[in-house]
């Protein structure tokens, strides 16, 4: 009975856990309604084994992806999430950027 309990606990608990580190919300100028623009999103991640990594370029890549989706408009109200998904001696760092792309808005 104890062995079955241990086995079921192991199977149940080996599922990945996650942790949200921060959520930053930028300013909303120029003020526009949600319906006057298009919601854009960029998500990038970095797989790390035992913490050995020398660069954090995945954030710059997310930023570049976000800018590419709104090349001729204003990016308003950027929401940035930094999180980690845990794993076996490794983890995945993730950054998610959401914003409203408003075209032909005055600065």
């Amino acid at each position: 009975m104890l062995n079955k309990l241990i086995l079921s606990t192991l199977i149940f608990s080996v599922a990945c856990t996650h942790s949200v580190h921060l959520m930053h919300v930028g300013d909303f100028r120029p003020y526009q309604k949600n319906t006057s623009g298009k919601k854009i999103e960029a998500v990038t991640e970095q797989f790390v084994i035992l913490g050995f990594t020398q660069e954090t370029d995945y954030i710059d890549l997310a930023r570049a992806n976000l800018l590419k989706q709104c090349e001729d408009g204003v990016i308003q109200g950027p929401v940035t999430r930094l999180s980690t998904s845990h794993g076996f001696f490794s983890w995945t760092n993730r950054v998610s950027m959401q914003a409203l792309c408003v075209r032909f808005a005055k600065n």
Binding site: H21, L22, H24, G26, D27, F28, R29, P30, G51, F52, T53, Q54, E55, T56, I59, D60, R63, L67, C70, D72, G73, V74, I75, Q76, G77, P78, T80, L82, N93, V95, M97, A99, A105, N107
Partner: protein, 100 residues
């Protein structure tokens, strides 16, 4: 013994970069000149006695954009561990657009 020393040296020669925070502000339509600022702070044995180096960030940005406003700033705070406990470096970068 030699193998242990070699493996330890290999492990300690690889740094570990960890992002502590990231933030960004609204990005303007006109994205001309990119301005960048960065500051570094070396921390030995986890002792750090002042945070004045952070004030240089805005000064560096303003020096590059004296006749305009700086918008669409992405700020990244990274902690790099070179030798655990002994030597860390805090690396903060801010990148934005100069709008004149």
């Amino acid at each position: 013994m030699k193998l242990v020393v070699l493996v330890s040296l290999l492990i300690f020669s690889v740094s570990c970069a960890h992002v502590r925070s990231v933030s960004q502000t609204s990005v303007p339509k006109k994205r001309g000149q990119v301005v960048k600022a960065e500051v570094k702070n070396n921390i030995f044995f986890l002792f750090n006695f002042n945070t004045n180096y952070l004030n240089e960030l805005t000064t560096q940005l303003q020096d590059q954009c004296q006749k305009g406003s700086i918008e669409g700033i992405l700020t990244k705070d990274v902690m790099v561990t070179y030798f655990p406990i002994i030597f860390h470096r805090e690396h903060i970068t801010a990148e934005g657009y100069c709008v004149e």
